[in-house]
Symmetry: C2
Subunit: 127 residues, 2 copies
DNA sequence: ATACTGCGCAATCACATGGTTGCAAATTTT
DNA sequence: AAAATTTGCAACCATGTGATTGCGCAGTAT
């Protein structure tokens, strides 16, 4: 059993709001769009030609991606070029890194908890 | 403008099915659960105490995470210990790595396309 | 045997999501 | 000026999602 305060800390740290990068990459179509735009900026019509779904469906994905700040629209006359905001992708990397650290240190964290429990063995056992 | 065949290849490669790791980490509660279980296996009740939502709500998240093969339930008497399948997390890392490579090589890919276009300048322009 | 506990499952509900069609606004072309 | 193109936006629909409540079943404790 992990000590309560450590768990609460973990939960508090990693509970975030919606409309983030994680929602952006949740949909396979959106992941494909991200990959497409990683190569270069494109217009909605150009993007849509690569998918079975309609232009409007793709456009809605572009809206979501823009709300997640993964894409940045750039108007050029009547065309809109969607650019990738590669910086946002780092949020995923950051989370993944935090996870990997937590996972790698799981034994030492348990040791910490056990040591704390041992040190407080004479007090009330709930820490 | 990116050449058609490269784009189609990208789209085909990165269109995947649902119920994958990306859906697993789309929800902030599920991300927090993953972080919790990264430290050590826990029972549904123990997990639920760390969240405001009810036990059943957490249980549904556990079901989703299990379907995504991020968690593995392990029955012990009447208790079920949910273990993290850290291997599944690598799918995210893999995707992120592919993205980073694609992004880093975007200029050279454009060069490739332009070179191809130049070589075929006398044929039909669609490649 | 009889409670109690831990847990999954079904029903239900509000809301989000992905998709479609239709249309209007803005820009470009003719 | 008129036609065509690119695009976003609104309405609508089917389905998915997150959450709640109620319940039943399998272990455990008394």
């Amino acid at each position: 059993m992990i000590a309560q305060y450590i768990c609460n800390q973990i939960v508090a740290n990693f509970m975030e709001t919606r409309r983030d990068v994680f929602q952006a990459i949740a949909d396979p179509t959106r992941r494909a769009i991200i990959m497409l735009l990683a190569v270069g900026a494109m217009t909605p019509n150009a993007i849509a030609t690569h998918f079975d779904s309609s232009r409007q469906a793709v456009s809605k994905h572009l809206l979501v991606l823009t709300e997640c700040e993964v894409l940045k629209p750039q108007q050029q006359g009547r065309e809109i070029h969607y650019h990738l905001n590669a910086e946002k992708m780092k949020d995923i990397e950051k989370w993944l890194e935090e996870f990997k650290q937590l996972f790698a240190q799981r034994f030492s964290q348990l040791d910490t908890v056990l040591a704390l429990l041992k040190a407080k063995k004479n007090e009330s056992g709930s820490i």
